[in-house]
């Protein structure tokens, strides 16, 4: 089995785990005082954390949070970004200049700095975390869509549709969007890997979902504190996170090669 297939299986496994965890209550917040920082065993594969909570169900709950955030933020920002990019690229002129100026401003904030700032002032919590990530994540989609639309406008089938009197929304959605699907799909995949890390980073800083509920970032922070006496905690969370991000990234590479998207 090659590395490529491995990525799909790992991703499928995490999605399945998240779905199962949302259907079945594994009691991720249940405390066992006699099992504080207990090492992994056959019955409890990943051991217990500093409050005596089983790490495995918490990992599943964390996966659920992580994938929920990724799914929500991606669908919202992709829709908004694509729409803005279509309008910007198609109409050009001052609309385009204003929108691109706006994206330049957002891109001037490195990495997740702006998301950290927004999450901080909005206040901790899952919905604010999602809001903060939405505010900052639409830019990539808008830029990519706009750049593609600029070249698509010169295509003959688009000009033909224009001269036949097709409405602008119809040209955008029926004649342009399908041709944008491949590069956007690749962009979305890489952006999802980034969102997994972003969600965990914000939770690590205490800005995401609040205790006692589990998220990978918050679990990592707790795990780091007891790293010396109970390395299994931080290792379990870190490796989970790494496996998910790696899987999504490899899937992105694979999609890019398969769909023959450049840049």
């Amino acid at each position: 089995m090659s590395l490529k297939h491995w990525s799909v299986w790992v991703l499928a496994l995490w999605i399945l785990a998240a779905i199962v965890a949302s259907l079945v209550d594994f009691q991720p917040n249940q405390i066992h005082l006699d099992l504080i920082l207990a090492k992994p065993s056959f019955r409890h594969l990943f051991g217990f954390d500093d409050l005596g909570r089983d790490i495995l169900p918490r990992l599943l709950a964390g996966a659920q949070v992580s994938l929920l955030v990724v799914a929500l933020v991606t669908s919202i920002t992709a829709s908004v970004g694509i729409m803005l990019g279509l309008v910007s690229g198609y109409y050009g002129g001052w609309v385009d200049r204003t929108l691109m100026q706006m994206t330049d401003v957002f891109l001037a904030f490195p990495g997740i700095l702006l998301a950290i700032a927004f999450a901080a002032v909005l206040g901790a919590g899952l919905s604010n975390l999602i809001l903060a990530l939405c505010i900052t994540s639409w830019v990539g989609y808008a830029r990519l869509t706009r750049a593609q639309v600029l070249s698509l406008r010169q295509r003959q089938h688009v000009m033909a549709a224009e001269s036949l009197g097709a409405s602008t929304p119809r040209i955008m959605l029926k004649h342009m969007l399908p041709l944008l699907a491949a590069p956007l799909l690749v962009e979305a995949t890489y952006s999802m890997a980034g969102l997994v890390i972003a969600e965990a980073s914000l939770s690590f800083l205490g800005l995401g979902i609040q205790a006692p509920n589990a998220s990978w970032g918050a679990m990592l922070r707790e795990g780091v504190r007891y790293m010396l006496i109970a390395p299994h905690h931080v290792l379990a969370v870190g490796l989970s996170l790494m496996s998910l991000v790696l899987a999504v990234n490899v899937l992105g590479d694979r999609l890019r090669d398969y769909l023959d998207v450049h840049g």
């Binding site: 100026q101 706006m102 330049d104 401003v105 957002f106 001037a108 904030f109 490195p110 990495g111 997740i112 700095l113 702006l114 950290i116 700032a117 927004f118 901080a120 002032v121 909005l122 206040g123 890997a193 890390i197 965990a200 980073s201 690590f204 800083l205 205490g206 800005l207 970032g217 990592l220 922070r221 795990g223 780091v224 790293m227 010396l228 390395p231 931080v234 870190g238 996170l241 790494m242 496996s243 991000v245 790696l246 990234n249 490899v250």
Partner: protein
């Protein structure tokens, strides 16, 4: 170049506007959130006036711009010190950390990328690919503790955290540097592969130059230009990475100042940190652009 310089004016204005609006995104009353329920109403009035929140919003923005132009970033609610002083205290530590991280990234990424390109599809290439793939799946808050666990706790070679000894900078710098090294490896490999097929490389070989001279003097020099651009852009992620890395390693730089201000709800400080890091990033990108046009004869003569 003048055009490029003027081009950043609206960006800088937008950055200032967005950071200004940040405090206004606080749900409810920012004064309430910042000093809490227990504060007296006089204290509240005072803070409201200090922050200018009793003014209409356009006046507040004008005031903010005006103060900014005079190098005044306001006063910390928590320590009552001018924020400019706080930043000046912390900036050198972050700069030191970022520069060392950058050096680590270049020392690791550049040779690895070159070797990968020379041995394309052979085991050194595959190893380099594995390195960059797995590193890019390791965020700083996972890489940092891992390095800490191995080098500080198990091997006892380096200090765990803090800033007391000179060696304390190594682990945070490595944490930041590895991520950049992964990107650099991939970029160098791609860029070298492109250049190695060029005619001038064949000419250089045909002249009878040693392989070493062909690679280092001819190929690398041409391949370096796109790498410099990427490096400039990636310095941003390095700066953003300092927020978490400095927190993990108790490194007293701007990133940690930002996190501390968030914890204390000292929003004027949060605002100032974000603004300064963004402006630094814009400046670095501008500098990269200018350096790029200066060192690449192709770009220089084209414009």
């Amino acid at each position: 170049m003048m055009k490029r310089l003027l081009g950043i004016v609206p960006v800088v204005f937008g950055v200032v506007l967005l950071t200004f609006l940040l405090v206004h995104a606080v749900p409810g009353d920012p004064v309430e959130v910042m000093i809490g329920e227990s504060a007296s109403s006089a204290d509240r009035m005072q803070l409201r006036a200090d922050l200018g929140l009793d003014q209409p919003i356009y006046m507040q923005f004008w005031d903010y711009l005006n103060k900014l132009a005079h190098g005044d970033l306001g006063v910390s609610i928590h320590s009552k010190k001018p924020i400019v002083d706080l930043l000046a205290e912390r900036l050198p530590a972050t700069a030191k950390l970022a520069l060392l991280a950058l050096s680590f990234a270049i020392l690791i990424g550049l040779p690895l990328g070159i070797i990968a390109a020379l041995k394309v599809n052979q085991w050194p290439d595959k190893l380099a690919n594995l390195f960059s793939l797995s590193i890019s799946a390791m965020p700083h808050f996972w890489m940092g503790p891992m390095l800490m666990m191995v080098f500080a706790l198990w091997l006892g070679l380096l200090p765990v955290s803090g800033m007391e000894s000179d060696a304390a900078i190594v682990l945070p710098a490595l944490t930041l540097g590895f991520g950049l090294a992964a990107i650099l490896t991939r970029m160098t490999r791609a860029s070298m592969l492109e250049v190695l097929h060029e005619d001038f490389i064949r000419t250089a070989r045909a002249k009878g130059l040693t392989e070493r001279a062909v690679i280092l003097r001819h190929a690398l020099r041409a391949a370096l230009l796109p790498i410099v651009t990427v490096l400039g852009l990636q310095l941003g992620s390095l700066l953003a990475g300092t927020v978490i890395t400095e927190t993990i390693f108790s490194w007293d730089g701007i990133g940690r100042l930002l996190v501390e201000s968030i914890e204390k709800r000292d929003y004027p400080v949060t605002q100032a940190c974000v603004l300064v890091v963004a402006l630094l990033y814009v400046t670095v990108n501008l500098a990269t652009d200018i350096i790029y046009t200066k060192i690449d004869p192709r770009v220089r003569f084209a414009s």
